[in-house]
């Protein structure tokens, strides 16, 4: 490494140092978002530390280089984009759809451009005249053109970019009119980027539109599907690098039917029939809990969280899921856990010696900063800091189930803060996003993108755990980290 490991510093002192760089007003605001996992209050079970002392889901401070995105990214990029047999229009200027084009790695099968459209960029490409005179007519024509050129498309969503909500367009009226015209599902989504404080409101709005324009109307019209006793939905798995598939294979092996996956590799039909299932299994709690609560309230469909990162959580989740079904399923779950145990043992035997004791810092979206923690623990690694771009209070509460007392916690971290935290703590690995990757690596610290799996994956399930372990090993133990110092400039 190019730099020596500095003297230990307490997390509290580190936070104080970082805040001292801010103007007073901003320091006061940011102080509420930085903290240290505290001891779990006596008598509180289920958590090993208390992390919900930091404030979250609050507006980012201007000018500090927040890593967050916007509501459009949460709706088009996360929730709607992966639904493969629908066309998702980036409604407004060209940029939003361009930068998000094919970047989330939501894998799918299908014939792209004919019956599947995930890796496309459809846009109304707003020009000045559309801003001045409104874009509803252009939107109508856009929908007609999509329907003509892509006759197998099952439905269309309108993903609003910033100007739509500012110029007074009536996309709901357009959606209703065009639905009547072409007879296909059309969904207007008010996910303008200025709404809310992060991607999170975009998830919520996207969920609400799924409810109002797909789920409820479909149930009212009647869904042609007879549910079975073992039917479940995977909710909140976007099939990044194939995650939903390496999860599905386990659920099927224990005897469940995955009748729908929201929304990785999903079709509109899978979404429509979701309420027919017996249980909703939610992976990404942050982005899709809203629709689970709705299906529970309106259709009496129970839901439960699960975690398919790392063998400890996978086994615990399989047992918890199976416990909602009969003995057959429970027996199969045990058989599946036993079947994969040799793989788990072999992966650990191979990679633990190279990874044990390594210190990791995470900064990701709304779920993974806690959900992947046990997968690292399974490999003998330690989490020294974690934080979320767009988590809410309940996420920080749940974080206490995973991280130990003394862990540095940072909400909506700024570029400055993260750089200082990394520089000071000098972890062996940082897991975050593309914007953080290269700055971290320049400091001589190995890095993995934990949004996109750094173009690898899947990481879910037992098959994914082997890939996860391999990737952490190749990141940390690559020889390049030993080449940073020119030999004639070796520090004394």
């Amino acid at each position: 490494m190019a730099k020596d490991i500095p003297d230990p510093i307490t997390p509290e002192k580190l936070i104080e140092d970082v805040l001292s760089a801010y103007p007073a007003k901003s320091a006061k605001k940011r102080a509420k978002h930085l903290g240290v996992a505290e001891a779990a209050p006596e008598g509180e079970t289920g958590i090993v530390s208390k992390c919900d002392t930091v404030k979250s889901n609050i507006k980012s401070v201007p000018g500090v280089m927040t890593i967050r995105g916007c509501a459009y990214a949460g709706s088009k990029g996360v929730v709607w984009g992966p639904i493969k047999d629908m066309v998702h229009i980036s409604h407004g200027p060209v940029g939003c759809g361009h930068y998000s084009w094919s970047q989330r790695r939501n894998y799918y099968t299908g014939t792209t451009g004919v019956d599947s459209f995930v890796t496309f960029q459809f846009t109304t490409d707003f020009q000045e005249k559309d801003i001045v005179f409104g874009g509803d007519k252009k939107l109508e024509k856009t929908i007609d053109e999509i329907n003509e050129l892509f006759p197998l498309v099952k439905g269309i969503t309108i993903q609003s970019e910033c100007p739509i909500g500012l110029i007074g367009d009536d996309i709901e009226a357009v959606a209703k009119k065009k639905k009547a015209d072409i007879g296909k599902t059309i969904v207007p989504v008010r996910c303008e980027g200025f709404r809310g404080v992060s991607q999170s409101l975009g998830h919520h709005i996207a969920n609400d539109m799924l409810r109002d324009w797909v789920i409820d109307p479909a149930q009212e019209a009647g869904v042609d599907y007879e549910g079975g006793a073992y039917d479940v939905n995977i909710i909140g798995d976007y099939n990044i690098g194939g995650d939903a598939w390496s999860s599905r294979i386990l659920l099927e092996e224990i005897g469940l039917n995955v009748i729908g996956c929201w929304s990785g590799d999903a079709t509109l039909a899978e979404i429509e029939r979701a309420p027919k299932a017996r249980l909703n299994l939610i992976h990404c709690y942050r982005s899709m809990t809203y629709i689970c609560r709705h299906m529970e309230e309106k259709y009496g469909l129970a839901w439960m969280e699960y975690n398919f990162f790392g063998p400890s959580q996978i086994a615990a989740s399989l047992r918890a899921i199976a416990s909602k079904f009969d003995q057959t399923i429970q027996d199969k779950a045990e058989a599946v856990i036993a079947k994969y145990q040799p793989l788990v043992d072999a992966v650990k035997a191979k990679y633990m010696p190279r990874l044990e004791g390594k210190r990791v810092m995470l900064y990701v979206g709304g779920l993974r900063p806690r959900h992947v923690v046990t997968a690292y623990h399974d490999l003998g690694m330690e989490i020294v800091g974690t934080g979320y771009e767009f988590a809410h209070g309940d996420d920080y509460k749940r974080t206490g189930e995973y991280v130990k007392e003394g862990t540095l916690i940072y909400d909506d971290v700024s570029g400055y803060e993260l750089e200082k935290f990394i520089e000071t703590l000098r972890p062996d690995l940082v897991g975050s996003g593309i914007k953080e990757k290269y700055a971290t690596q320049k400091m001589g610290i190995p890095f993995r993108q934990m949004h996109s799996w750094d173009y690898s994956g899947p990481y879910h399930g037992y098959d994914g755990f082997a890939i996860f372990a391999r990737d952490m090993d190749l990141a940390i133990n690559n020889p390049v980290w030993g080449l940073f110092d020119a030999p004639w400039k070796k520090s004394a």
Binding site: M1, Y72, D115, T123, S246, I434, K442, D463, I467
Partner: protein
């Protein structure tokens, strides 16, 4: 069970294992409610027909897979080329996350920029508070020498006035009174990233030049333009200038900031044009743009100030480089040195050695207007024939320039020019009127897959191949790099077409 610790299979192999194939087949058959496969095939074939092409080209409202980004991306890129400069984009914050990601994915480098993080309340009351608070934070945290302000479309739609906002922010002591905060309005609903680049260049020069007295000198300014190969190209440009003994100022030099070393230190800023250089640049005899469509407003501003101007279209290839060097020689009185004549000769030598493999090859070329121009020109110098030239962000005047260029060579006679069209248009066009090769960026891989013609990645963005941007495409040396890429594609195709043992390998030749 397909997975093992000895041979870990990731997505590239895992999902082609029998267990997963069976699972996915079952998913499709049981749960997806898709269309029958014969219908998918039928519609797929139809999308490659003349009938579909006509409908596709008749689109009026819908844009599909456009080869252009929005203005602020260009503004952020331009600002990054000035020493110690932080981009501050006024408006919604998600946009900035997108620009930073986009640039980082291409350059494999950090890309720093901040946002004023405007939300609903700013949409109602305007973003002045965000600007005041934001500039103070950026100044305190990131120690910039300059903050360059541009806008997202949100700020443009609500009509925030950057000039008055920055004045007010300075009154409120967000930054010192004399601290440079140049700005440019960069509405995403006008033009594209090349216009954002132009607007920001002019925006940065303006405060340094507007009240200064020009003392005309002999200096030369060079504006590189928006360029994914900027790292290699700007360095190559400087090398050529050095050989000529020409002192020139590159206005926005991103070559260091998008190519910082790994030695233990993260450099948020690196290199770049200094403020003294910007000030001196007013006195230059002339300003030359490497890319006309990235600099029309900036060049007009230079002319207003009394400078000569000259614009090129991405100087690539023999004649493109010849013209640049001769212009530099004319402006400075310096002779083009023998070393460059020899480099030229070596390039021509390489082209002559390989001409048999390139003569008559046909190409579809897309990208930014200046790139497409020079790429078509170089292709024609090799005896190749451009068949389709497309720029989503090219206008009528670009199309006319392209027509004139193509008319100047017998190799350009069969070429069609597509201004304002997108890559889904290009799919129809190539399905009905094919070419041997496609030149563009990473997005072209979908056309490569759908239509089977090889893609040569030569322009921004390149996400799925690494480090190409570190090598120049400008100048004679750059042309050599481009030549090799064209040739490798031709040779790889010959090998893959003759690569099956005992079946197609008659022409699997060792020497070519």
């Amino acid at each position: 069970m397909p997975q093992s610790a000895d041979n870990v299979l990731d997505h590239a192999k895992l999902f082609h294992e029998p267990e997963y194939k069976a699972m996915l087949d079952n998913k499709r058959a049981t749960f997806e409610c898709g269309h029958p496969s014969n219908m998918v095939t039928e519609i797929g074939d139809w999308t490659k027909s003349w009938d579909y092409r006509e409908k596709n080209l008749a689109r009026e409202a819908l844009t599909i897979n456009p080869a252009k980004a929005c203005q602020p991306l260009g503004a952020v890129f331009a600002a990054a080329g000035y020493e110690g400069t932080m981009s501050f984009v006024h408006g919604s914050q998600g946009c900035v996350a997108y620009y930073r990601s986009h640039l980082a994915r291409h350059f494999k480098e950090p890309s720093s920029a901040v946002s004023s993080s405007m939300t609903e309340d700013a949409a109602v009351f305007g973003g002045l508070t965000n600007m005041v608070e934001g500039l103070a934070n950026t100044y305190a945290l990131y120690n910039p020498k300059m903050i360059a302000v541009s806008t997202t479309c949100m700020a443009e739609v609500i009509g925030d006035d950057l000039n008055s906002f920055i004045i007010k922010a300075k009154e409120k002591e967000s930054v010192p009174e004399d601290f440079p905060v140049p700005f440019a309005h960069t509405p995403a609903f006008v033009g594209s990233h090349v216009d954002g680049y132009d607007n920001m260049q002019k925006g940065i020069l303006t405060p340094f030049w507007k009240d200064a007295e020009r003392a005309p000198g002999d200096g030369i300014n060079i504006i590189p333009g928006f360029d994914g190969y900027a790292v290699g190209n700007i360095r190559e440009l400087k090398r050529m200038l050095g050989l000529m003994g020409v002192q020139a100022t590159v206005l926005s030099d991103v070559s260091d900031v998008y190519d910082t070393p790994s030695d233990g230190e993260f450099r948020m800023y690196s290199g770049g044009t200094t403020q003294d250089e910007i000030k001196d640049a007013l006195n230059a005899k002339a300003t030359i743009s490497m890319q006309e469509y990235c600099s029309r407003k900036t060049l007009a501003f230079c002319e207003e100030k009394g400078q000569e101007t000259s614009a090129f279209h991405y100087p690539m290839g023999v004649q493109g480089t010849d013209e640049l060097l001769m212009k530099l020689s004319e402006l400075t009185g310096k002779e083009i040195p023998e070393a460059l004549r020899l480099e030229r000769g070596r390039l021509v030598d390489a082209m002559a050695d390989s001409q048999a493999y390139l003569h008559g090859k046909t190409y579809a070329i897309y990208g930014d207007p200046d790139f497409v121009y020079s790429m078509a020109r170089f292709v024609m110098e090799t005896g190749g024939e451009p068949k389709h030239c497309l720029a989503t962000n090219g206008g009528k005047d670009w199309a006319e320039k392209m027509q004139a260029l193509l008319a100047s060579s017998p190799f350009g006679q069969g070429c069609q020019v597509w201004a304002g069209k997108d890559l889904w248009h290009l799919r129809s066009i190539l399905a009905t009127e094919p070419a041997d090769m496609l030149i563009g960026n990473s997005y072209g891989k979908y056309l490569e897959r759908d239509l089977g013609l090889p893609l040569i990645r030569l322009t921004f963005p390149i996400f799925d191949r690494h480090h190409h941007h570190r090598f120049p495409t400008w100048g004679y040396q750059g042309a050599l790099n481009v030549l090799v890429k064209l040739l490798d594609t031709v040779f790889d195709k010959l090998d893959s077409d003759s690569g099956t043992l005992g079946e197609t390998d008659i022409s699997f030749d060792l020497t070519r």
